[in-house]
Every structure is written in structure tokens, then in C-alpha cells.
Symmetry: C2
DNA sequence: TCATTTCCGTTGTAAAAACAACAGACTTGT
DNA sequence: ACAAGTCTGTTGTTTTTACAACGGAAATGA
């Protein structure tokens, strides 16, 4: 577990907290480490959790499959990112989505109650973690609204432009790699893969974008 | 301002706090009351805020209009509900959406910093408000994911079924009124109004639902 | 009460997406 | 190195949606 402390130091949750202090808090918060192989589910829709998770290795998808097998990728989780925080509140109900390991993963589980209630030992930086958690949820909230803004577009082309623009803004560059292959991007935008593939090529022919595999450039 | 204390008592933010204590906190948190006529904007996309707002009278829409004039209603805000909490964090950037009064409204503004930092007078129930705020954001988060689940449906019919099912679940009844007219519902689901209107009638003919104006019944 | 506006369903047409099926390029694992 | 599998773009067909325009019903307001 200790080998992940440098990673935790750079997460939103432990921002501003030193490695030694993180080490102390890991036991204070009773963190548990679990590993998953590519393709395994970390959490399944319908489960109840009282943990907040931090991904310290690999890549995850928050996703959902409907009756007809249509997959919808809600979000991508990279190393250092938190997930499950929406279920931090008591009585938050069952998970709505699956969490799938798309690469071999390592995940740290933290007991929510131990985070949001003052710990008996009164860790010096406990209250800072609470505030960090608060800001992180707030940011996640904005991300979700951004995705809603993207999903509310009518056509595939508009969705693509919206998504690619956001990615360009996020990378501070008109050239960037995306964390999805074509099928995953289609699932993320909730459109048909082949239709999207065609639309991407049409956008390239129209001189809007260039791309090679997962690398895109906005023109 | 005092006349709204009974309303505040029943909000998520002030849950578990007595009316007298709320009265004390209103000054402690330096609350400000603003009123808006139907059709006025409470907040506009691009603004920067450091407040959390509670609607104490009327009805609001969180929405966004794109270049082409397509309106997309992100969320509906009713009396007692909070909004703007996603921008509670510092450096949370400019507002992504407009907030429109769809009825005459009264809104209470609270300074975020005064909520999340311990107040000088150390109000007895300040920490409870912080936790309430935390849970409220967490719940908003789940609501957004639920809407994403709805928006990720491919067809208008699936979106309608998804939305109406959630409403039925929320009302604990297969018969309920929705807070939208047809155009607003179409904007909320990001579909064409006339196409949606037709689909609703087809669903009625197929024996899936019944409706009269804003009142729907699932069969 | 009457005129005006808003709301809702309907229709027809054009545009777009979903779906299915396929072939070539590329990866992966043995 | 080779076989199997995956990923991507392409095409054609069917289904669905968007758009525009209209009429009647209901609500609003002077």
C-alpha cells in the first residue's frame, strides 16, 4: 500500500497533505487495497457501498448496459482520480452504474464515515481531507453538467465537436490524445459506432479536424 | 426574509436545524434576498459567483441555449431546493448555464466562504449545515447521473420511458404531474417537441401510458 | 367579452441515425 | 511467424428524428 503514497499525494483528495501525513491517515481511515484484472468489475449496478474509492493504478470506466445491450459509458477514471463519492451520503441508495476495469487496476477503499466524522485520534489534517472531498465532489458535479451539455446536442457531429472542444480546452492544446477507442467513444457519446466513424471522416474531409488513431487535432 | 424561515427549515441545507437557529444563522451567514419576475435571469452563463442559492419562492430552470437557439433545460429547481452549489469550490470557473425564473421568484444568497469555513462566532449548528451541504451536493451528483442515464437513450420513446419511470419512482405512484409543459419537456430531454408529442400519443395508443395535460399515468 | 397569445397535436418532407454486414489493417498471444 | 481476434472505415437499407407549417383548444389579458 505504501508504494502508492506518492500517487495519493497528487490526488485531489489528499492535496496539500505530506507523504508522512498520508501514511498516518491510511491507517486512521482504515484504507483497503484491492486489485482487479482487465475486464473485471470493481462494482456492479445494484450494490450498496459505504466507501469512497481512489484508483491508484490502471483505468476504469463508469458505465451502464441497458436491456438491449446498449452500453453507455458515463465516465472514465484515470490514476489518482476518485470515484463512488456520489454515494458518500447515507441513504444514497444502490449504485446506478457498473465500474469496470479496462486495464489491470489497483483501488484504495476508504470508509466514508471515517472521513466525514472527526476521527477519534483527531488527525491533524483530517479536516483538510473533508474540505478536499467537498471540492472534489463539487468539481465532479461540474464535469457531469459538462457531459450533459455535450449529450444534449442533437447530431453526432455536434456531440463530437462539443466533446473534442472540451478535450482541447482540458489539454490546453488543439492536438491531444483521447482515452477511448472508437467503440468506447461511441458508447461515451451514446451514438452508433459506424455512424460516428463516418461522421469523423466527413469532418476530416470538411477540414474541421485531423486524426490518427486516438490522436486528434482541431483545425 | 424572516417569513421564509419555515420554508428553509424543510430544505436539505437546513435539515435538522430549528427555526430560531436558522434565524441566527441567516445573519451569521449574511444571507441576502433577491426577487425576480417571471422571465428574468437570476444568473447568466459566463458569470462568476461565490454564493450558494436557495429558492424560497417560485420556479427556476437551469438551462443553456446554443448557437443555433436550441434550448436545453439541464434541471428544474423548485421551492426549497438549492442551486449553484457546484460552484462552491474556489477556482470553479465561470457558470456554464443560465438560471431563468419561469415564475416570479425569491432567492436567498449565502456566501460560500462563510459556510465552509468555521464562523467566528462558532454557531452551534454551523458544522451541521456543512455536512448537509455535503450530502446535498452528493445527491445532486446522483441526480445528474440519473439524467445522463436518461439522455443516453437512443430514441425519443426510450427517453420518455426513462424519464417517466423515474418520476413515477420519485412520486411513489404510477400517476403524477410533471413540472414541464411539452416544449419544456422536449428541451429537458433534448428532442424535438413535435416529434415528442407524436411519440407520446403513439405510446398512449400502444397502451403504455395515459395522460392529460401535465398529468401522466403509467400502465 | 373579445382579441391575442400560448399550447398541443398532426402532417409531410428532408435529414440524420441506427443497424447489419464486410474487408483490410493492426494487435495479441502462442 | 502465424493464427486468431480486434479495431476501423465503408456501404446500403431501414428506422427515426428534425424541421416547418397549420388548425383547433385553452389560457391570458385588456
Amino acid at each position: 500500500m505504501k508504494k502508492y503514497i506518492p500517487i495519493l499525494k497528487n490526488t485531489k483528495l489528499f492535496s496539500g497533505i505530506s507523504e508522512e501525513e498520508i501514511n498516518t491517515m491510511l491507517s486512521c481511515l482504515q484504507a483497503k487495497l484491492c486489485t482487479y484484472k482487465k475486464g473485471e468489475y470493481v462494482l456492479r449496478q445494484g450494490e450498496y457501498i459505504d466507501n469512497i474509492m481512489v484508483l491508484v493504478e490502471g483505468k476504469l470506466h463508469i458505465q451502464r448496459d441497458d436491456y438491449w445491450g446498449n452500453r453507455s459509458i458515463i465516465n472514465m477514471v484515470g490514476v489518482g482520480e476518485m470515484f463512488g463519492e456520489a454515494y458518500a451520503a447515507p441513504e444514497s441508495g444502490a449504485l446506478m452504474n457498473d465500474v469496470l476495469a479496462v486495464e489491470d487496476c489497483a483501488v484504495l477503499f476508504f470508509d466514508v464515515k471515517r472521513i466525514i466524522t472527526v476521527c477519534p485520534a483527531a488527525c491533524r489534517f483530517h479536516s483538510m481531507v473533508v474540505q478536499n472531498l467537498f471540492f472534489a465532489i463539487s468539481e465532479k458535479n461540474r464535469q457531469l453538467m459538462q457531459k450533459l451539455g455535450c449529450m444534449s446536442r442533437r447530431t453526432t457531429r455536434e456531440k463530437l465537436i462539443s466533446y473534442l472542444s472540451e478535450e482541447a480546452k482540458r489539454h490546453n492544446s488543439s492536438s491531444f490524445s483521447i482515452p477511448f477507442n472508437r467503440q468506447q467513444l461511441a458508447d461515451y457519446l451514446s451514438v452508433d459506432r459506424s455512424a460516428m466513424s463516418g461522421e469523423l471522416c466527413r469532418m476530416r474531409d470538411d477540414g474541421l479536424i485531423e486524426f490518427d488513431k486516438n490522436r486528434f487535432t482541431l483545425l
